[in-house]
């Protein structure tokens, strides 16, 4: 290897390391803070590595056992808040809502997109553009009307209401990506299935869905992540604390003067585990979904 080539390579690795630090640094700090009492991160400079490493904040969230008794006398904050005890419940709520949104997107999205990809009918272009065009409305512009609509329907402060709203916001993307995907699949295999006597639904289920698995995985990951992460509508619709989703509860805890910052850090860590795992495991499908959305 020539010296110039060696230098180039060293430079690239240095840049890569810098990029990795920029991406992971914030995560590392919050992870570290979550294992400390608040007094430790208020030191100047703070303890970068927990010393000693303490699980007290996590124990409090899951059992309600008050952390860091000595901290309470320091007068910085009350140190605890009952809101944090709802983090496990909120995780359950978030999963229930996000999985329902995922399921609705899969079923309705597949049926709708398959119809757009294979059937010819009057008004098809209009219906397709209508579904896609609905995405042009920024959420904040329809927030109040959706709030009043849900009130009329009696769906305020219900998870069902939130599931419907999230599904309405994710379906256009799902239909768009899946229609493109189905169009790209060869017709011949389905037609062979018809000859063998299976109906449209049978062919869709046994032939098309398995072939479209990567597209479905991308759409599913997107729908789940959108719903898991969505804040504005979750905040407007869910009022009871035992129904709140993770982003809403985390936002509430983060502005609650009674919560220690290290307890807030625990909230962040618990909130991001699922999306991080999903992003790492489904990376390939998410990227291909992002790229196909770029064609729009």
């Amino acid at each position: 290897m020539t010296p110039a080539r060696w230098l180039e390579r060293a430079l690239l690795y240095a840049l890569a390391l810098l990029l990795a630090l920029v991406i992971l640094g914030p995560f590392a700090w919050v992870l570290s803070a979550s294992f400390q009492p608040e007094s430790a991160i208020f030191k100047q400079p703070p303890d970068w590595i927990p010393n000693p490493l303490s699980l007290d904040n996590y124990v409090y969230v899951f059992t309600g056992r008050v952390p860091f008794k000595t901290d309470l006398s320091s007068g910085l904050t009350a140190g605890i808040t009952g809101e944090a005890l709802f983090i496990p419940t909120s995780l359950g709520n978030t999963f229930a809502v996000a999985l329902s949104v995922l399921a609705l997107n899969m079923v309705i999205g597949t049926l709708t997109a398959y119809t757009f990809a294979r059937e010819h009918f009057r008004g098809k272009a209009l219906a397709f553009n209508f579904i896609l065009g609905s995405r042009l409305l920024p959420p904040i512009a329809v927030a109040i009307p959706i709030y009043t609509l849900l009130r009329v329907l009696g769906l305020l402060d219900t998870r069902l209401g939130l599931v419907l709203v999230h599904s309405a916001f994710t379906l256009p993307f799902s239909v768009w990506v899946l229609t493109l995907y189905f169009r790209g699949l060869p017709r011949e295999v389905e037609e062979a299935a018809f000859v063998d006597g299976s109906g449209r639904i049978g062919a869709l289920w046994h032939i098309v869905v398995p072939m479209a698995a990567p597209g479905l995985a991308a759409v599913g990951a997107f729908a789940f992540l959108f719903s898991y992460n969505e804040f504005l509508f979750a905040q407007l619709i869910l009022d009871s604390i035992e129904l709140k989703t993770v982003p809403v509860l985390l936002a509430a805890i983060s502005v609650n003067p009674d919560a220690t910052y290290t307890l807030i850090a625990v909230g962040v860590m618990l909130a991001i585990i699922a999306p991080i795992l999903l992003a790492l495991i489904f990376r390939r499908y998410i990227v291909s979904g992002l790229v196909s959305s770029l064609e729009r």
Binding site: A16, L137, V268
Partner: protein, 287 residues
């Protein structure tokens, strides 16, 4: 006919949460509707639009939003482009970076905002701690409570959150550029810079444009970050347009003006999309 039946559930769901709300917003925007006096909702035509346009706050919010776009979009684009070029290098171990780069984008925006609050907090925080430790500052800086710095702090969080998306999309564009093009140019004696200027950049133009417009829209519509990082403050230093519209409806309880503001923002965003569709070469031109 049967086809319509199959697409009906999807159509109905999407329509229920777009057509009705849009009509309702148009209706409300022409009424004086204060939640403090819900029994009186007189028709006032464009009065709400006139009223909000006449206030100083809307000019301030528009200016702050513009400044925020100028602070974030170039940062997102440059960092995204740089990261994409780096990720495109054939280096051992680069897959690791491609694997983790999506993380800031995948987590809830609220969580990203809270993370950055813990990072840039004035009384503690990793940034203050780091600057203090290496001796650049003698005492901690209140990043979020200083009106001159707060918007920059929000912008930094936004750039951290968004640049991975730009990087991934530009990287996808980079990977469609045939390797042979670079090889041929190399044989013809073109240096790395010339190849970047005359091959990479022109071929990347479509993906960069899409990302540029998408990121501009994201910056204009940003809401969650402001909510958890600053709540629009200190004063109105970080009152971006979407926060302003939200506050009109849900803090001042003036639904008519809130609807007018939201509709103006929606119109602005749609105009932006139209402009970008014009800028993009159409399918035929590309083929």
């Amino acid at each position: 006919m049967q086809a319509w039946l199959v697409i009906l559930p999807g159509l109905a769901l999407v329509g229920l949460f777009s057509v009705y709300p849009l009509a309702f917003a148009l209706y409300v925007s022409t009424r004086r509707l204060l939640l403090t006096r819900p029994d009186q909702t007189p028709f006032i035509g464009l009065g709400n639009f006139v009223d909000v346009l006449a206030t100083d706050q809307i000019r301030a919010a528009a200016l702050t939003t513009g400044l925020f776009v100028l602070l974030t979009v170039p940062g997102v684009m440059l960092l995204g482009l740089g990261a994409a070029l780096l990720l495109n290098q054939r280096l051992r171990g680069m897959w690791l970076l491609r694997w983790i780069i999506l993380l800031p984008w995948a987590i809830p925006l609220v969580a990203a905002g809270v993370m950055w609050r813990l990072l840039v907090h004035g009384n503690f925080g990793a940034l203050n701690g780091l600057l203090f430790q290496v001796g650049l500052i003698g005492s901690y800086i209140p990043f979020l409570s200083d009106p001159r710095i707060a918007l920059v702090a929000v912008a930094v969080a936004q750039v951290w959150r968004e640049f991975p998306l730009a990087a991934i999309l530009v990287l996808a564009g980079l990977q469609t550029i045939p390797f042979e093009l670079h090889e041929v140019a190399k044989v013809d004696g073109a240096g790395a810079l010339a190849r970047f200027r005359y091959i990479t950049l022109p071929l990347l133009r479509p993906s960069v444009l899409v990302v540029l417009v998408y990121e501009t829209m994201t910056a204009i519509a940003v809401f969650d970050l402001v909510y958890v990082l600053t709540g629009g403050g200190p004063g109105n230093a970080t009152t971006l347009f979407s926060w302003f519209a939200y506050a009109a409806s849900f803090k001042l309880l003036n639904l008519g003006q809130g609807a007018a503001l939201s509709l103006m923002m929606a119109l602005g965003l749609i105009l932006l999309i139209v402009v970008y569709l014009r800028l993009l070469p159409s399918e035929e031109e590309r083929a």
